[in-house]
Symmetry: C2
Subunit: 178 residues, 2 copies
């Protein structure tokens, strides 16, 4: 696994000053673009949850759809989508989350989860944890149980995992500074 | 296969007047939410391409990420993402496509495809075919070869497949009227 993780890390590209000056963006597109590395990334995440009876994987628009859908397929689970306001066509619940300036809202369909579903929240990256915290709030509103939150990349210096307690965080790659 | 397709069709929900009055939206979230049906949907698409040496699957933001990423994982292919303007962090090519009123733009990274990559374009639904036509244009700009365009749903009465010629269209479900 260690060797695979090293290869995966090499395929992530730093883009300075995106989306704004002073921020270093972790670009996963070279990783996604490699069949072997994309496969391995999903398998490494899935290995941890193989025997955890995951009913549903939840992914947040848009990059969370990539990791979440592939992981749901790999686990034989359903896929629950969480989107920006106004994008989902049926009745929704919503949850707000904090951004650096202000806040934003996420929505989920009211019938998105079966009763007491065991839900794995998946995304490409955890920064401050605001998005995942909102996803957890939505799972709770729907009566589901959060298994864990799984990410390809964790920016540990932003301490997102603190915000998600008591729920656990698993990540393949950790970055302890920009 | 016919029985599976019938089950998949039953899991797609009509939402009248979304996103605007007079339009009937095909809501795939109940299909995605069923582990067995989501798995079967991806497998039925993948079966067709198993021996076609697909190097990359291309998905357009956002629902195309769901079908495309799961299909890429299933085929062991890389995943190429196409996004709305300003979302991709690296150097891009762009292509415009027609909407009912006006037009919009899609972008792809300039290094998104290896040379002469065989690319399968995947999305949840083909309507008039504008989005897929833009994706084809982007693959051409990058020097890739389009294998085919694959969709879960085809709204045949909108004749999108005409717009994509000479490239082929494959769909699991066809609707010949709203």
């Amino acid at each position: 696994m260690e060797k695979d993780v090293t290869e995966i890390r090499k395929a992530i590209r730093d883009i300075p000053n995106f989306p704004k000056p002073g921020v270093v963006f972790k670009d996963i597109t070279p990783l996604l673009g490699s069949g072997p590395l994309f496969t391995r990334t999903i398998d490494l995440l899935a290995d941890r949850y193989e025997n955890q009876k995951v009913d549903m994987v939840l992914g947040v628009e848009s990059r969370g759809f990539i990791i979440g859908a592939a992981l749901a397929y790999r686990l034989g689970a359903g896929f629950c989508i969480v989107r920006k306001p106004g994008k989902l066509p049926y009745e929704t619940h919503s949850a707000s989350y904090e951004l650096e300036y202000g806040s934003d809202i996420l929505e989920v369909h009211r019938d998105a989860l079966p009763p007491r579903a065991r839900v794995l929240i998946a995304d490409d990256l955890i920064a401050t944890g605001g998005t995942a915290a909102a996803a957890i709030a939505l799972v709770s509103k729907l009566g589901g149980q959060v298994v864990e939150c799984a990410f390809v990349i964790e920016l540990t210096f932003l301490r997102g995992r603190e915000k998600l307690k008591p729920y656990g965080v698993f990540s393949l790659l950790q970055y302890d500074s920009e």
